[in-house]
Symmetry: C2
Subunit: 363 residues, 2 copies
């Protein structure tokens, strides 16, 4: 019922294969012939059948994206940009949610997703490098996102976790904070986002000559409620602190919510910093100081890398590792200079002037 290449061929008075050649930009076709075919295509409203093309050629021009949960703002924004970048290269993105379970990550890797796509962008959360290597079937390209796995066998696009966490911690120190709680890690974490960011934190403390206090490191699920309950535990534990570094924005926002709820002023009593620069960080009250991990760059680089692998233009034998540049977004929850502990001034609706002080500390 749909118009096929055969119909076009008949209408243009050429062979089926010539139509195919026109569509695939085959070099040696006389302009006149090409035009006849294009006219026939336009007249009949022909559109290539992607399924047949995919069956025959073995390529689908689709990329698979595996994340734990698309409703997590970071992943939603990432997916959105990946789609845009991929579309510019004439690829689509097919998303699959793993819910961060081992079984789902395995099926995403081995199951029909990889069959339907030409390559995978994978955010591993439970599988480790060996499990991934073992589970990987066939030879379709695979690019890892995030920092759960760091292994030379895999291509990988990630953010500068250590450097960014160090810079943010240095910023808090420069603001006069000395007891900076970290939410979302355990003191012993060494790997993955928590471990790397914690390492950055410790590096900054060391550089500033401030002692590391494990009591300030509070584990939590990386969600808003995790941030809120971590702050609750911190307060109930009686540990004094003058800043909270949430290892992602959700944690930081949850933490800030809980602080405000308990009457602790942000940033006067405690500064709050996050990581990710999700859209809502700009619109919280106060707006959240955070790390912009270069999501645009991440999206561009990983799609680029994956497509280059697919099309064979990236030839590096072992894993290519890309780290995107980050930027600090200094906003109200942890401004550059510590706001002096003013008695509250009351209800003035005038904007507080931003202190221009530049406390550049640093290595």
């Amino acid at each position: 019922m749909a118009v096929t290449m055969n119909d076009v061929a008949r209408a243009a008075g050429v062979s089926l294969k010539t139509v195919s050649n026109v569509l695939n930009n085959y070099e040696f076709i006389r302009p006149a012939t090409r035009q006849k075919v294009l006219d026939a295509i336009a007249e009949l409203g022909y559109e290539a059948n992607l399924t047949a093309r995919s069956l025959r050629s073995g390529k689908s021009r689709m990329l698979g994206l595996v994340v734990s949960d698309l409703s997590v703002p970071y992943y939603a924004e990432l997916a959105s940009r990946l789609m845009t970048v991929a579309a510019a290269r004439d690829y689509r993105v097919l998303v699959e949610q793993s819910a961060a379970t081992r079984a789902n990550e395995l099926t995403a890797l081995q199951g029909s997703l990889s069959q339907l796509t030409d390559g995978l962008l994978f955010t591993p959360l439970v599988l480790d490098a060996d499990a991934m290597a073992a589970a990987r079937r066939g030879t379709k390209p695979l690019v890892m996102l995030g920092e759960h796995i760091d292994d030379p066998r895999f291509d990988q696009v990630t953010m500068k976790n250590v450097g960014a966490a160090k810079a943010m911690t240095a910023h808090l120190l420069a603001g006069g904070r000395r007891r900076i709680a970290v939410i979302g890690a355990s003191p012993g974490d060494r790997a993955g986002s928590p471990g790397l960011r914690l390492a950055g934190y410790r590096a900054a403390l060391a550089a500033a000559g401030v002692d590391f206090d494990p009591a300030l490191i509070v584990p939590a699920e990386w969600r808003r409620d995790g941030g809120a309950s971590a702050v609750a535990r911190l307060l109930e534990g009686g540990q004094p602190f003058d800043a909270v570094f949430g290892l992602n924005d959700a944690l930081a926002l949850g933490a800030m919510h809980e602080l405000v709820l308990r009457g602790i002023r942000v940033p006067e009593d405690a500064a709050v910093a996050g990581f990710d620069d999700i859209d809502e960080a700009r619109f919280s009250s106060p707006s959240l100081t955070t790390v912009a991990p270069g999501m645009n760059e991440i999206a561009e680089r990983c799609v680029q890398l994956l497509i280059d692998r697919i099309e064979g233009s990236e030839k590096a034998a072992s894993g290519v590792h890309v780290e995107a540049e980050f930027e600090l977004r200094i906003r109200g929850s942890a401004p550059a200079a510590r706001v002096s502990q003013l008695p509250q001034t009351g209800t003035s609706p005038t904007p507080t002037p931003t202190p221009a002080a530049e406390g550049k500390v640093d290595p």
Copy 2:
């Protein structure tokens, strides 16, 4: 290179078609034969080639989802649930972003997306019903999401916009508010989400005998910054108000952010209400009173409806219209009773006890 049905057939000593029959649960196969085939499948690790199946059968077991921008939290959460619901019926979801442009909506409707999928879940934002009807090619099922279009020709799953906005407005009125600004609509809006929600607002005012003041209706882009700048304009316009009803949560959160920034206390000086109940509404400061529009129900019903259309089990000739039930989520930004206008208590970082005062003002 991959294992095909032919390999399985050879291994099991049956014909190609018998393997196909086993896979498709054809009724008349001797248990012994079936078992032989299943054994061969297991032994060879055969997996059906979905592309070939799709080419031959004309079905892909994929649903297309068209939204303007996946990074909008409402769409992200919706997409996430749709995928989960679809997966339970053994369907996948392929997402496409329209950026709310006419051209993109048209290509989403006519282009390769509909070719790759068995049916479309479509959130129209710029196309109207006639344009949709005209643009629609072929006969693949199409279910509309949202309220931009309301037309008996189309299947449609939506929320109770009028009822929910009316209930929320009634809640604000019950809290003693009388000058309720609405952000995200023009006074003349009649259709689409803005028009419907505005209608609910007006209905509630009328029911309470409160006059409608067009000066309180402020148009804005449905984003956080739109909410923030709308509040700014409202304040600069000098219109007094004691509540803000953002027609979605992003607007409300942006508005709340701007209010707090300008020293206006929420909810003491102005209550704030939203619409959508996105996850972050619970975690703002104060947490946001909003309408939960029944997203779970929407996700379930629309996937159900679309798949039923695809599989032929829904036979209604004209459009099926479904409205999901809503619930009000009463939270800090607009509590049930109006908090009395306390003088500020000062600098204590200890948690402020929640005032138990019940100043039930009201109609």
